[in-house]
Amino acid sequence: MFGATEPLDTRDATPIAAPAINGHVRGDDRDKAKPVSAGTADDSGPDWAAVLIRIRDHRDEASFVALFRHFAPRVKAFLMRSGADAAQAEECVQDVMATVWQKAAQFDPARASAATWIFTIARNRRIDALRKQKRPEPEDLPWGPEAEPDQEDRLGLQQETEHLEEALASLPAKQRELIEKAYFGDLTHSEIAEATGLPLGTIKSRIRLALQRLRHAMDRK
């Protein structure tokens, strides 16, 4: 665990210099043509959390279409790399994105980025569809997303996510593939146990920073 009791390898803890790349390193270029002014925290792409909040608060279909154009092709890729065939993936994508619309009230930008939140929905759909299992989820914290989340928490969290993407992109190819495979459901538990024992460079220190930030956001409430 990352608890205080166990030493974590912090040799790689120096934050990497944020490369001046345009957010979605391997994404397609369709995003740039999107007619949505999402309001950006910096120049690394739309602020998807803000888009989700518009969906949450105003049931805004134009925002949903923008979100769909960015995330639905990625969710399809995620499901196909997890073992779904194209038709099955296509069907699940519709379910996942409709769930995003339906459950938008549960999105808390101080706790998760849009990508993170959509990932958890897609993952649970995968467990349900491909493994035919229920997914026990933790009890909620007794508070929910606040109407006016703390801006510092929200922006800090979104930036942390971008750093995590950069850290992932800058890993040696083999290590990056290992992590991708883990999240695509392609590694067994013992393989994951081996993988988490590896020095995964900046990823571990980035996760640790994200963890501290989340801990801080939780303590504040």
Partner: protein, 215 residues
Amino acid sequence: MTTIRHHLTDDLIMGYSAGTLPEAVNLIIASHVSLCDDCRAAVEAHDALGGAVLDTTKAETLDDGCLDATLAMIRAMNAPAPRDIKVPQDPVAPAPLLDYIGGSLDAVKWRPVGMGVKQAILKTSPDATARLLYIPAGTAMPDHGHRGLELTLVLQGAFQDDEGYFARGDIEIADADLQHTPVADISQDCICLAVTDAPLRLKGLARLAQPFLNI
């Protein structure tokens, strides 16, 4: 909230986040996370890595009708789900566990397994087994080993073994090699959720007289 001293390991947290663990293991992790803010933050940080993987993965082209079909779905939907918060409803069993025991510890169908100990096997996918254990205060368990991973989460009372003292919220993670002799604390009857990743093997009724964990 009590101070929790025994936590999940990195690989269990990552496996939970990646969604590759058996249902019974997910259940015990979700139950621990319900009681432990440290592990909750760790799970959410690992979810963020999953988000990064999703966001940076090479996108697939969607069929032409996909967006329209989804728009039709959301337009046909009733009012969006309000936030449904799973708040603590039981002082002993966390919310994810309540789903598996009919909503209340009172609904558990305990079966005696000897020495005053009772157990109830929960219905999950067969790749791992989850059971609730009821161990009278002060009861010593016989030595037992197990074939694979064994996870034990204390929900009420406490137990002590060679590995340490485990109270409410603490989770013991034991691999196949560990032989241990847990003794329930004298102060209170002990209730635990235990998960083994070897499938349950029932060998007839005589089995019930055997040490309860050695299945």
